[in-house]
Amino acid sequence: MKGINRIYIILLLIIFSLIIFVYFSISKTQDRLTNSIIDLYISQAQHFSKNISEQIKKDVPNNLYKTLKNNINLRKNLEDKFKVLSTDSFKYIYVLHKDKNDQFRYLLDSSKQDRGSFDEKLDIDTKNWLLVYKSGKEKTLYQKNLETLWATYLKPIVTDGKVEGIISIDFSTKLINEIKNIIKPIDNFFLYIFILIFVLVLILTYQSILNIRAKKYSNIDPLTQAYNRNFLRIFMEKIDLSKYQILMLDIDYFKKINDNYGHQIGDEVLQEVANIIRDMIRQKDIFIRFGGEEFLVFIDREKSPLKIAEDIGQRIRKSIESHNYIYNKKSLKVTISIGACLYPQHFKTPISAIKNADELLYEAKRRGRNMLVSDSNEREDGNQSSISIDGVKEAIEENRLICYYQPIVNLNNNRIVKYEALVRILKEDKEVILPREFLPNITNTNIYIEMTKVIIEKVFDTIREKNIELSMNLNLSDILDNKIFSIVKEEIEQNLSLANNLTIELLEYENIATPLLQKKLKEIKSYGVKIAIDDFGSGYSNFSVFQTLSIDILKIDGSLIKNLDNSKTSYQITKAISIFSKNLGIKVIAEYIHNEKISNIVKDLGIEFGQGFYFYKPSPYIL
């Protein structure tokens, strides 16, 4: 949009420059034309005066003044001859001579009007006339001070090297006006062109303004005057998430307002709420109507306190709560729930960040509405989240992201066959933080990707150092995520010789039979990596997974194993899983074996491998 506006401005500048160039070019041309015409007339005057001079010299070879003084007929004869040369343009044609007092007097006057008598004085521009007398050279005088005359051409009559008189031809201002009339159509032509261009420019400018306004209004919600989703779409293409915190706001029980009071009142409530929100935010914040009664606010965080969005969100909430809404003499109570995403920059995309704000909004609704929930404080279980996104980032940077290892044993001889790598964070005070304390905070963020890379590097380092088999946990969504998958693949490719020692345990809880997943798992397996399904038997376990994916290991969920000794259902399910896995050639590991009794039951069910506190707890060491 800005680019198009720039193009418009450049075009306008080019047009203006062209207009100015054409104007000056035409002015120059006009001047040249004018000068050419003037030169033409002066040239004509030169010829006339030359002829007059020759005629006078012919008729009066010498003593011009004396001869003419004594010969009236000669004077009349000459004047009549020269009269034919007098026109509207050559207004006066006469001959003057200078007396002893430098006064100029008539010798001859062939003018058709305003004639002077012989020897009568005429007040002229004495200085220039004297110059002509002295130099004996022709001269054209431009009469700036005389209204009816434009120029005077002077030609001295020289006899035997002496100036005896000056032939004068006065050009009427009519001449210059005629020239101007000749030029005028060009002037007018240019004027019309200029007007046309000016009108075009006005139209162009008007169109641009209309275009800008249309674009502006196409981004504005007409009811609330907030930006609309169209704007959001464009905004998200350019947004730098590190510059904002996000508020997702939703009017509580808005459907009831519409149902009880009608849509008109509903619209008025929306408008009032929007106005309050707008009053509470700053000019640099972006206010968007996201849905029917949902709003998004992008709070500019530059040079602002850490939790600026929370502060603004609370102000908005309190203002809306305390505001008196009166419609048709009825008082209405309106409240708003808010989700505040304080770290949108940790999310891969703006949509993920908005989704996070939406989830927090949902949490606010779930807790009773008319509140703000942000991702800086409480989680669902009410416990204080130990590690925030920034905390995890710091842990990675300070190498406090570590692996704990829990051995998996062969139940027949209790020998350790492999280990499961479990991610932990070591706090500065050496407290060990479990994944449930930080993983939810970093899901769908770039930090999660970073963490995955670090873990897989550590896993391969341990495999290399200890020459053991190791398994690590990934979600199915991680395999489907191109970034994470490429990191995993890259690490495997860099450690090809160790790939056989790696098992990837996939958390299976969604419908996973997608061709893409099959393709990616096949690719990993081609390197020699084994694939295990973790927590099988819980949640949405689906046996069809064995039809579509080539699984090497199956880990029975702890919820089944824990209850083997007191739940028939758990026992039968576990038995069934053991049998069909064996039939399919899939190895089975029972998790969460916490005592000898359970261990024995598991062994009796024909399950080969076990894991749990009964054998070993996770520790930072390889045993």
Partner: protein, 135 residues
């Protein structure tokens, strides 16, 4: 003086109407002719030219006038001093014309006649000498 007059003509032609030019010229000329006259009384033959003589008393009868200024009339019979404002009637009043101011060939012309100046005992300032004709 000629230069001053011409400059005056030029400037006034450029920046003001011909009316103002003529006012200035007549003021200068009449001042030069009658420097000591407290209240000069003139008679003019063209009432449309009254505004040229704004601050000068214009009389209705020739008898009461000190000076006649003639723009068009060729047949005024008087012995009073005359100032001619038209080249065409300049030669008509040879006996009592002091001088004249007229436009000829687009140029302002000023002339005084020595004989009549002396006859009426008028002495012009030195800088007007160039305008004085002997005949």
């Amino acid at each position: 003086m000629k230069k001053i007059l011409l400059l005056l003509f030029g400037l006034t032609a450029l920046f003001s109407s011909s009316l103002t030019t003529e006012q200035q010229i007549y003021k200068t000329v009449l001042n030069a002719l009658f420097p000591n006259k407290k209240q000069l009384k003139i008679w003019i033959d063209d009432k449309s030219k009254t505004q040229i003589f704004e601050n000068i008393k214009i009389v209705k009868n020739i008898e009461n006038a000190d000076l006649l200024i003639l723009f068009k009339t060729k047949t005024v019979k008087t012995d009073k001093m005359i100032f001619i404002a038209n080249h065409h009637i300049l030669k008509t009043y040879n006996k009592n014309r002091l001088g004249g101011f007229y436009w000829q060939k687009g140029r302002p012309n000023l002339v005084f006649f020595k004989y009549n100046l002396e006859k009426f005992g008028i002495k012009l300032p030195e800088n007007f000498k160039i305008y004085i004709e002997n005949n």
